[in-house]
Symmetry: C2
Subunit: 106 residues, 2 copies
């Protein structure tokens, strides 16, 4: 689903990743993090797609909300497990959304 986000400005965290062949525990952790992130103050929505690489973009009210999510203890455990098991490489970019527009077939 395309995230319904408010009028800019807001923030995007672009998480681009390449997986290892290890699947053990990945879906469970992914589902748990999806539930948890939705409860975070300042979380606005997310979008995710994967084939050769994965791209997950989460949207946030401000940088403080992003920092709080980064420091969340369950998220930190997930991140460390991800580095050990599920991800071969990844890149995180933090970006301020300055403008947006939609197309919806009428």
């Amino acid at each position: 689903m395309i995230a319904k986000t408010p009028e800019p400005p807001y923030y995007a965290v672009i998480f681009s990743s390449v997986r290892t062949p290890i699947d053990e525990g990945y879906d469970e952790m992914s589902d748990a993090m999806e539930e948890l992130v939705k409860k975070q103050p300042g979380f606005l929505g997310f979008e995710s797609a994967r084939n050769e690489i994965g791209i997950t973009v989460s949207y946030w009210k401000d940088l403080e909300s992003i920092r709080n999510w980064r420091n969340n203890s369950e998220h930190t455990i997930a991140r460390l497990t991800g580095r050990n098991k599920w991800y071969k490489s990844y890149k995180v970019r933090i970006a301020k959304v300055e403008g947006d527009y939609d197309f919806l077939k009428g």
Copy 2:
């Protein structure tokens, strides 16, 4: 592939889309746009993934480069064809990347 981008700041265009069932001409246009975008001044790289939704993030030196690409005539034709045929809905977000970090398994 995860795009190799320079030190921030730079810009990201996050293109999130839902396809129609129409495939005719899509791959050809997609390949042609990929070749064309690489030649644009200020283009820094892109990442793309699709399953239920598609997310393509292109990276740019500045807003002027993004505007020039938006006004490129071949790109404009592709965009209009996309609205008519290939996309049910999409959202474009323009964002200034303020920070990034990498993880690469040692």
